[in-house]
Assembly symmetry: C2
């Protein structure tokens, strides 16, 4: 049993951000067959001497110009035999989150990259190229559930943010509305979740709000979904 059939290994990235109050994903328009003209998730081949995470970082940088400040984690791997009609590929999908003010596009490959609302991408027919619709749906589900029990929502915010901004992240991703007062209490009273920077801002209007940075807490227990309304 020393057969080891050759596979091509790629990484694909579902990168989310919040723009105009909606959850958006970076997609690239395919210029070649198969799926020519359709939207696809950014991605590419893993190099022969490259770790998977490193490959995902590189692709993300190539497509967006982003070098830091984003969250990147492995989502899952997709390897149906016919997922790419050209050859036998396995793709390791990644979930990435970035703050909103990201300059849309900058990279080399990214000539046709655009931010698109997630809901539209998932509902459209025909959908994304390859199995990218499935990947995007899985990524969305992962993002939603990780917001519940990790401090990951801050990855959608600039380095310093207000509790109100953080709340709007949850509301956007979950598609719910939360009680601002209970959310404020919960967020500010959970030890290790947020670190006050001392600064304030009025960029959201109204009374000046305290600015915070992400704390060191890794897991929220109880989950943030509770006690928030």
């Amino acid at each position: 049993m020393a057969e080891h059939p050759p596979f091509a290994v790629t990484v694909d990235i579902a990168l989310f951000t919040i723009r105009d109050g909606g959850l958006c994903t970076l997609v690239v328009r395919r210029g070649e067959a198969p799926y020519r003209g359709r939207w696809a998730l950014p991605g590419g081949f893993v190099r022969i001497d490259e770790d998977l995470d490193r490959a995902a970082e590189r692709e993300l940088r190539e497509e967006t110009g982003l070098a830091r400040g984003f969250h990147l984690e492995q989502l899952r791997t997709y390897g149906a035999p016919k997922r790419d009609p050209r050859m036998r590929t396995v793709t390791v999908a990644y979930l990435a989150l970035a703050p909103g003010l990201t300059s849309p596009v900058a990279g080399t490959d990214a000539a046709d990259a655009e931010w698109r609302p997630v809901a539209g991408l998932l509902a459209a027919t025909p959908g994304l190229a390859f199995d990218h619709g499935r990947i995007l749906a899985d990524a969305l589900e992962r993002a939603r559930s990780k917001l519940e029990y990790t401090p990951l929502a801050a990855a959608f915010c600039p380095p310093e943010f207000t509790i109100g901004e953080l709340r709007r992240v949850y509301e956007t991703v979950w598609g719910t509305t939360l009680d601002p007062r209970n959310f404020h209490r919960k967020a500010s009273k959970t030890p290790g979740f947020l670190v006050p920077t001392g600064g304030t801002t009025t960029r959201d209007g109204g009374r000046p709000a305290q600015l915070y940075r992400r704390g060191t807490l890794e897991v929220l227990n109880p989950p943030l979904a509770r006690g928030v309304a």
Copy 2:
């Protein structure tokens, strides 16, 4: 950019069960270099026309003789460039859970397969072959956290089980002790979690206990960790 370096793709399986009140993993002793004589997770190459999940199922069947009744889910993918000194491999790791009474071993490859306590495997030096120690640790963490918010603990039990048996699964995997009375209330009152079969058993000693099957519930909210002591 039509380079696509060839990779070998494998699946490796961290299969957990509970034996003698302890959490155990199925490991195989390596008969060849590299890592000759060391324990490794069971696994093998993905076939050229085979889906990843299918490959994992096949390997599991080959190593254990188990055909059904186990839980199997993708864990994550490991692809460090030097993880196998012989060639460039990427392995898609799976987490599997099986009931305790599994006949130890039966398959073809599985000549040297054994159930070993997880704690010992993780603590031993030298550890498992390749990056399997890491995979095992990640699998354990996944199993622990999935017990919190899914009805997955039942995968460690026979088709019909008592609430006490289910509680001992949680206690074993989490390494904690739970209040039997609160656990009973929480488990039996959570809608959709358990379905009474009508039968009873005294196999655990004491007063006869109701038998249950897994319900249809997919996600526990609140998590079972809460309200249980």
